[in-house]
Symmetry: C2
Amino acid sequence: MKENNKTQTFTKVECADRLSAVEDAIYVLGGKWKLRIIVALVSGYHRFNEIQRSVKGISPRVLSNELKILELNGLVKRTVDSESFPVLVEYIPTDYAETLKELVSMLGNWGVNHKKRISSEIDL
Amino acid sequence: MKENNKTQTFTKVECADRLSAVEDAIYVLGGKWKLRIIVALVSGYHRFNEIQRSVKGISPRVLSNELKILELNGLVKRTVDSESFPVLVEYIPTDYAETLKELVSMLGNWGVNHKKRISSEIDL
DNA sequence: CAGAATCCGTTAGGATACTG
DNA sequence: CAGTATCCTAACGGATTCTG
């Protein structure tokens, strides 16, 4: 049976599993902020206020929440250096977060394309 | 300057644009139901109640809303055959919806992997 | 069958002020 | 600096009933 990425076939169970996997991914990455924060993190912003400035429009409350969730999901590591003053807290993206780069890239490509489509529709 | 998919570089403006593109994509595809509905559509479910049965747990109100939004975004076409009785309404995924297959596939892969990670963490 | 109408609870997230 | 605490609103979405 030939199977390239254009003609993947799945049994019903496999299909259901994959669907729930898609949902899992959306659950972890969805919402207004998570991917934006991840991008900020991998772009080199590690301090709380730094991230807040980088991710425009986010409030500290929301940022704090999202960072906790991202940490729970193993995408970022919170480190505290209590020797320094003021206490230095850093949010470091894990290697695991890197695995999202390709996905983010694809989403971006699709989004760019989609914007073109939509705006050209308006012209019709 | 070498540029493979591991070392893409962007100017600040390009980066901001791409980021907003990612947001656009999430906006169009995000939420609890949209990708699930798209999967149902490309899987061959075209009638309203058919789709509702396929996408487990969705209410008619929500399904109706989502379908309208998907139509606005060009991902599905609503067709009515008023000659027939009862009136036959069908929701046909556009070719454009096919462009999501790869994305959905990647999300699925990532999700599968993520579930493994998370559940193995619990064992630690 | 294909939805619309209604009602209602939950939650995401915004604004702002405050604290160690 | 790195958050927490409060308050508040809008949107999401569930349940149910109704209709052409």
